[in-house]
């Protein structure tokens, strides 16, 4: 073992420089020169201010905005500094309680709507930062958003469609609506931009 320690130590140093320093620096160099926007967190800038990342969801509770999936991050919903899921198991009573209160909140914001609530609107995402909802969850909210804004539901629906991504290559993943981008577009329309 002692005889093996010398080459082991030297090799460890070389491989550390190679894989721990050179490799990430090389990737960083390529990333920053080819895709600087993506490499720095896909920041969305409005009027000179960073308003979010195109990849991270945000928390919405205003009836005039589309709501994101529930977030289980501990300190505050959609906490970018500490991602987390609920980790509630299927037989955990707390899970059913949480779903019950989320259903009530949606119903309270939209009293006339008696449709069943799409499941992704009342269950917490894995990351607590999920930027998307399903097309079903968007459709469920269209009437509420339109009413709160005094807009024609069909115009809201068109905006939803414009912010809906299909499956990649028609095969991978699921169709999804980008909530933050959709809400930014709604706000921009309201401000007449």
């Amino acid at each position: 073992m002692l005889a093996a320690l010398r080459p082991a130590l030297r090799l460890f140093v070389v491989l550390t420089l190679l894989t721990g320093a050179l490799y990430p620096l090389l990737v960083t160099g390529i990333a920053q020169s080819v895709w600087p926007h993506a490499a720095n967190g896909s920041l969305i800038v409005r009027d000179g201010h960073v308003v979010g990342s195109a990849l991270l969801g945000q928390s919405f509770a205003d009836p005039a905005h589309f709501w994101s999936p529930p977030s289980a991050t501990a300190r505050v919903p959609y906490d970018g500094a500490a991602s987390s899921g609920s980790n509630q198991g299927p037989s955990n009573p707390a899970l059913l309680e949480a779903v019950t209160s989320r259903v009530s909140a949606l119903r309270a914001a939209d009293p006339g709507n008696t449709a069943a609530v799409p499941v992704d609107l009342v269950t917490a995402s894995a990351s607590g930062l999920d930027p998307h909802i399903t097309p079903a969850a968007a459709e469920y909210q269209v009437a509420r958003v339109a009413r709160a804004r005094g807009m024609d539901p069909d115009i809201v629906r068109e905006l939803v469609a414009a912010h809906t991504a299909p499956r990649t290559l028609q095969v991978l993943g699921e169709p999804r609506v980008h909530v933050l981008a959709l809400n930014l577009a709604l706000d921009a329309k309201a401000e007449g931009r």
Binding site: S84, G85, P93
Partner: protein
């Protein structure tokens, strides 16, 4: 579940096979030290490593020297990663000014990353500085995977050589695997991931002013969201390729910055199984009979698809209790439905179930959904895949050497049935080989079951459960299974960063890795010394569908005999309870 779900699965498996085949041939060239396509580019780097270390790659080692070199190298990694975590507060590249990691957590993480487990008792973005992640953890991601390939290479050589005293040179295998296989693949994958939105920078977190203030748990409004970036893509690439699984962020590849799109998900999923699958074909080439590699690959693939089917079906089922609350969880054109708790919208049910199966079949352990929130049977399948001993593709190198041990066990059992001396690839399997094989098969279950028994019988073991009832037991069983088999995924509700779990799981990871690796090298030493006998009339061919079926049977029977009682106390009871509550 519908036809489209299986299209996603078939697409994945087809692409995987199409890349694994040529890669397997390439790795065989690398391990045999022959010239290959990347030699002009990387041969110089390889020679530089030998010169710096002062080793001669052509000098062959016996199994004991090989094992000592492996242990010495890994011991250094353990010490360095431990020290780096304890001292990170005083080291550079720490823009968030994170302090020293606690001693028990640092021990756990050091063992975890050296042993290719990458169990994470900590939240990445809130615990580890950029320097620790990069110079400590990323390095271990490479060298722990290369260690696995090296041990496997020794075993394969032992099977293909006749009456030899040596099994190769550890330093050469380590350097070649790192420089020619892991580095180029990681570079390509990391760059492709950046193109999808995975960050790669050294900047401090950015504070974004959010559209609507969010309400904190204490009721105060929060107007800012921290966007944490770092050298993420470079770490994610090797964490997937090296079956490591330790993510940059707390929620691993469920984090939108670690895995932003369905395409990045495909790339990462391919990377999870790529090298373990390719090594099957490497094995076939190196023993001079590609059919042997195919037989092992098919056995793994059969088990993979069977367990995937269970998880996919279980997670697609809407929960009756939610329907009663006025929730729609039926699959339709506009939503995948099913059990969406702890899943990301862009992945839905299929990509989540596929990932859960791949990451537990391989000893990867990264997640893109929260296994703790899976339905009882949906969570049972990934746990069982881990408990089978991480041999369904398994860890880089370690999965195949585990499966080859099962192949030896299979020919032994077949030999008992017909009363002949068993042989594998012309090597007679005798008492010493069976002792080593039994150690490899028995050590992980012993660690899992004894560790679980200990944890459920002391207050410190049950104090940090995340869920009440039998699901809490499942969390403990999953944690020990994951650690002892070097997987690293978790039923993450269990608070495991405690002075009780950190050392317990650390010990399980240590012996689950190094006791097995040494036993495999001892087995290699014994096999190398044997002559190769010509197949006779009583020899069981090991490339036929019959052998594949027997191999699958032995893996399942050994796993079932060992773990069904424990599983019956956890996920199976929970399933029955939920059914009964209807």
């Amino acid at each position: 579940m519908n036809a489209h779900d299986w299209v996603q699965v078939l697409f994945y498996l087809a692409v995987l096979l199409a890349i694994a085949l040529p890669l397997g041939a390439f790795i065989a060239q690398v391990l045999e030290g022959r010239r290959h396509a990347l030699t002009p580019l990387l041969g110089g780097v390889e020679r530089l490593c030998y010169r710096a270390a002062g080793v001669d790659p052509a000098r062959e080692m016996g199994w004991k020297a090989y094992a000592l070199a492996m242990l010495a190298f890994n011991a250094i990694g353990l010490v360095v990663v431990y020290a780096m975590q304890r001292l990170q507060g005083a080291l550079p590249l720490n823009p968030q000014r994170l302090g020293a990691v606690s001693d028990h957590s640092a021990f756990n993480t050091a063992v975890s990353f050296a042993s290719n487990t990458n169990w994470q008792g900590y939240g990445g973005e809130t615990t580890m500085s950029m320097l620790t992640q990069m110079l400590g953890l990323t390095v271990q991601n490479f060298v722990s995977a290369a260690t696995g390939i090296a041990v496997l290479a020794a075993l394969i050589r032992a099977l293909s050589r006749r009456s030899a005293d040596t099994v190769g040179n550890f330093w050469a295998d380590l350097v070649r695997s790192t420089v020619h296989v892991l580095l180029p693949l990681s570079l390509v994958l990391a760059v492709m991931l950046v193109s999808q939105g995975v960050p790669q920078s050294f900047r401090a977190p950015v504070a974004a002013t959010v559209l609507e203030p969010a309400t904190a748990s204490d009721g105060s409004p929060v107007t800012q969201q921290q966007i944490v970036v770092g050298p993420v893509a470079s770490q994610v690439a090797i964490k997937q390729l090296g079956t490591n699984g330790g993510g940059y962020y707390n929620v691993n590849s469920a984090h939108p910055l670690e895995n932003p799109t369905p395409f990045s998900n495909l790339l990462e999923l391919l990377a999870i199984l790529l090298i373990p699958a390719a090594l099957c074909f490497t094995f076939g080439r190196m023993v001079g009979d590609p059919r042997q590699g195919w037989a092992v690959f098919v056995a793994m693939a059969v088990l993979f698809v069977a367990f995937l089917g269970v998880t996919l079906w279980a997670e697609s089922q809407p929960r009756p209790a939610l329907h009663a609350l006025g929730v729609d969880a039926q699959a339709s054109e506009s939503q995948p439905g099913g059990n969406t708790e702890g899943k990301e919208t862009r992945f839905g049910i299929v990509q989540s179930a596929l990932w859960a199966t791949a990451t537990t079949a391989a000893s990867n352990g990264s997640v893109n959904s929260m296994h703790d929130s899976f339905s009882p049977l949906g969570g049972l399948a990934p746990m069982a895949l881990i408990q089978l001993g991480e041999v369904v593709f398994g860890g880089v190198g370690s999965g195949l050497y585990g499966m080859l041990v099962f192949a030896i066990l299979t020919v032994f059992m077949a030999g008992l049935m017909v009363g002949r001396t068993p042989e594998y690839l012309g090597k007679k399997i005798e008492a010493f080989e069976m002792k080593m094989a039994s150690l490899v098969v028995l050590i992980p279950p012993a660690l899992v079951l004894l560790g679980t028994a200990l944890a459920v019988s002391v207050p410190a073991g049950t104090a940090t459960l995340g869920n009440p009832g039998v699901h809490g037991f499942s969390e403990i069983l999953y944690a020990l299974s994951s650690a002892a088999n070097n997987n690293g995924s978790a039923f993450a509700g269990l608070g495991a960063a405690t002075p009780f779990y950190d050392p317990l799981l650390g010990i399980a990871m240590f012996f689950g890795r190094y006791a097995l690796a040494v036993a495999v090298l001892a087995l290699a030493g014994a096999l190398a010394r044997k002559p190769r006998v010509a197949p006779g009339a009583g020899t069981l061919p090991t490339h036929t569908p019959l052998f594949v079926a027997m191999l699958v049977g032995v893996v399942l029977v050994v796993g079932a005999l060992t773990f069904v009682p424990a599983l019956a106390l956890g996920p199976i009871v929970e399933h029955l309870q939920l059914q009964g509550a209807r």
